[in-house]
């Protein structure tokens, strides 16, 4: 409890990152539900769409907190440029860089959605499909740089998020109708492979010994201070 009050920025960064990832997961699932024409008995279709939009905006706000407190916290050097340009953070360059990459992809998705009526459906959709990639990149960012990855509860949360998004994608690919069979099988295989890759990475990376050192080591020989 003491550590929590001594380092409010650091713990806010960790908590808001976790919450943002949960909100993004809900957003993805609601988006898939909408496009798959999921129509629950007690809920309007427009309500599914409105929830998708509003929770995505909530995720953006929480992401703002996550990024703001990560920058403001003086213990880890990240730097302002690393907010939009990936792989510039001196701290855990690769893993923070993935967060930047996910944020850039999400910014593209948010901005094109804001001007959807002007840019037209096809271009909007092409960019909007990047959301799946952004979610996956955010997952690896979370596991790779998150100080909480080793916690049982945190791994459970990631697993639940992975399971519901994978289930939504596979359900969508299964019910989308005949045609494009090769593409659908390919996308399903890629999704399962990404999940398998994630668990392989967890086992070899964050859950293996000495990760806080190795996560940093790839970029510099000088060890950074370890933060618990």
């Amino acid at each position: 409890m003491n550590a929590l009050f001594n380092d409010p920025l650091w713990f806010t960064t960790r908590a808001s990152g976790t919450v943002a990832f949960g909100l993004l997961t809900v957003t993805v699932v609601l988006g898939v539900a909408g496009v798959a024409r999921y129509a629950p008995a007690r809920m309007g279709r427009f309500e599914v769409a409105a929830l998708h939009r509003n929770i995505s905006l909530l995720a953006l706000a929480v992401l703002g907190v996550h990024i703001g407190t990560a920058l403001a916290d003086s213990f880890v050097p990240i730097g302002w440029t690393a907010v939009v340009v990936p792989f510039l953070s001196p701290y855990r360059t690769t893993w923070v860089g993935l967060g930047t990459l996910a944020f850039d992809l999400l910014l593209a998705v948010y901005l094109t959605s804001a001007v959807r009526l002007r840019i037209g459906q096809r271009r909007w959709k092409a960019v909007h499909l990047c959301s799946y990639g952004a979610w996956a990149v955010a997952l690896f960012h979370a596991a790779g740089t998150g100080s909480d990855t080793r916690l049982g509860l945190q791994i459970t949360l990631y697993s639940v998020c992975v399971a519901v998004v994978l289930a939504a994608i596979l359900w969508r690919l299964y019910t989308v109708g005949p045609g494009h069979l090769a593409a659908r099988v390919g996308l399903a295989t890629a999704s399962v492979a990404t999940v398998a890759g994630f668990y392989g990475f967890l086992a070899a990376g964050p859950l293996a010994p000495n990760w806080s050192h190795r996560a940093q080591q790839a970029q510099s020989t000088e060890p950074m201070g370890e933060r618990r």
Binding site: F46, A49, A50, L117, G120
Partner: protein, 71 residues
């Protein structure tokens, strides 16, 4: 203040039958058996414009727009 009357125009080719519009603007839209909108004719009643705008904005296929009502 006098507002210009508006009418709702549906792009039948772009429409994919998601049906959100009929939930948001039932004053003028109903759904057929396949989920595509059936529109009652005429301009939008003055007080309903906001509802029509919400339906236009919610369309997943961007298949609706508001235009000035003719004559």
């Amino acid at each position: 203040m006098k507002r210009t009357a508006r009418r709702l125009v549906i792009d039948r080719i772009a429409c994919t039958g998601h049906g959100l519009c009929a939930e948001l603007f039932p004053e003028q839209l109903a759904l057929d058996d396949w989920g595509y909108p059936i529109q009652s004719p005429g301009p939008i009643a003055g007080g309903d414009t906001r509802h029509a705008q919400r339906a236009v904005a919610a369309c997943p296929a961007l298949a609706m727009r508001l235009e000035a009502a003719r004559g």
